[in-house]
């Protein structure tokens, strides 16, 4: 995954709230066909990529992303916006031939990214886990069942149905 791609996703989101959302958005966009090429494994909270986490950290350290930390009762929540330096660089890059090409490949996923940025993070987590199991070769009912068991979720709830809907949209 390139620096530009990550920055573009943050730009689409405006303010990207929580690292969990960042992780699941990249995973779901990639699963939907966006050429991001990030390596994912399954962690407690669903698909997780160390590469993405470290890219975020690198861009933050270099002042390309602005990180804010809020303390909540259940822990810290990080949110990300683009620094002005990044905004300027994206603008310039997207007028160059190689930037135009890269932007062209990303653009079809802009609306999906914006929709994901507004979703409940828990829904992203469970939806991404369903997609993860499905991509591992499980058929649809198996992927749902495995996700339910992995995330300790009740069957036939509105929440699970929303997550399934999200996963179906991604894999459509």
């Amino acid at each position: 995954m390139s620096r530009y791609q990550l920055a573009k996703i943050v730009q689409w989101a405006g303010t990207l709230r929580s690292r969990k959302r960042m992780q699941k958005m990249v995973f779901l966009l990639q699963a939907a066909g966006c050429p991001l090429d990030a390596e994912y494994g399954l962690h407690y909270y669903g698909p997780y990529s160390q590469d993405v986490a470290q890219l975020v950290d690198g861009l933050t350290r270099e002042g390309l992303l602005v990180e804010e930390v809020e303390n909540h009762a259940h822990g810290e929540q990080y949110s990300y916006t683009l620094s002005q330096r990044s905004v300027d660089q994206i603008q310039r890059y997207e007028t160059e031939p190689r930037g135009l090409e890269e932007a062209g490949k990303m653009e079809p996923f802009a609306n999906l990214a914006r929709a994901l940025a507004d979703k409940d993070p828990k829904e992203l987590e469970v939806g991404a886990t369903i997609v993860f199991f499905q991509k591992q070769g499980q058929d649809w009912p198996e992927a749902i069942e495995k996700t339910r068991s992995f995330k300790k979720l009740d069957a036939n709830t509105q929440f699970l149905s929303n997550c399934e809907k999200l996963a179906r949209r991604i894999l459509a």
């Binding site: 470290q54 190689r98 930037g99 300790k152």
Partner: protein
Amino acid sequence: MSAKIIRDPLYNYVSIDRKRDEWLLELLDCAEFQRLRRIHQLGVSYLTYPGADHNRLSHSLGVLHVMQQVLGRLRQSYDDAQVDGARAPLLAAALIHDIGHGPFSHLFESCFGIDHEQWSIKITTSEETGAFRALRKFAPWLPRAVGELIDPSNEDHPSWQKYLLSSQLDVDRIDYLRRDSLFTGADYGHFDWYRLINTLEFFENDQSGRDIVWPEKSVLAIEEYIFSRYYMYQNVYLHKTTRGFEKIVEAVWERARYLFENGSDVNLIPAIRDFWQAAHPSVSQFLAIEEFTVLQQVQNWTSNPDKALSDLARRFLARKPLAMIEAPDFSGLLTPDYAEWEAALRERVGAHSEFDPPEMYIRADLVKAKHNEPYFPEQDKEEQSVPNAIRIKIDGERVPVEISKLRPRLRPLTDKPLSRIRYYVPKEVQNEARKLRDEWILPR
């Protein structure tokens, strides 16, 4: 004799109880495991460190030994059926976790496009192998259980079992850091491993069942282990000369594959030809490729009519590594133009007619951030970003605390590392390439 005793330079004796674990001896004797004797543990590091001639088999026996010690410790502290039930799969997985490595360990993963963990799983669960038969002799379910334990994406086993085998402080790392240090002579692999394996405990977690944790008294030993890992990465695993040899090997195989796919006769040894021609190579086709096979193949290529292939093959056998230069400093740029820089480097190297085609002589080396960092701390409680982090049980705390929260001294080693790209070029043009890099103007 009630025990099979094997001499080992790290533990003195590795011992297997003949009565209780006869099946394990059979596993040890199977052809696929014995093949590990012929695989260098550290790939081509022996070209940098002449002592690094140790193999995957001795490491695997070491991992078995450490696992035996850990299970003995848990059994003493927790007299329960869970530990007993997990004993056979954990011992077997410890012994054969690397059974799917190819020639020169990780090095040929990139040359042949293979993933050693996937081959370990295939060898373990394929009915045609001796490893499968030895495991099945113990119990019909054992091959599958071992395969699942080795599989990093499988979540069907209790997390404490996966943790012991594959985490940021597991039996594999404990052995290889110490063993690689001993054999390279790079004296950095010292830490109080005996304390680590004798103080670990279970923690009952609401979410994932049992976890492995350490008491507060072990934090210094853990800190020492993390520093040791850092020093070993800097001095041995990422050694620039070793990487220079690895880059040559990769170039040799890339060139040969290119020629092969374009119809040239590259005089392939049958085992390699079969592997390359198979759409889905079988276990036996994979196992037929040995270090001596690939070395003989490289030797054959020294007289190949393709100038680049024969030159690169000769350079490797004559111990002439590619030389390293750092990339231009692209930090602070969102869209670093590596392609433009590489094109300029190609032009510079290509001006020398002996380096043709130049791309075979310019090798990028991406050192991922995860290889630059000896330990990944948990970054935010909200997301528990690193499930296999090292956790400490503190008196009075409800949940274990991740080690970096307790030891700020670790921060310089773990705080937001960066990936970096280095380049390898022939020694003859290293200075020219450096000059080009120094004069490279970056947009700001």
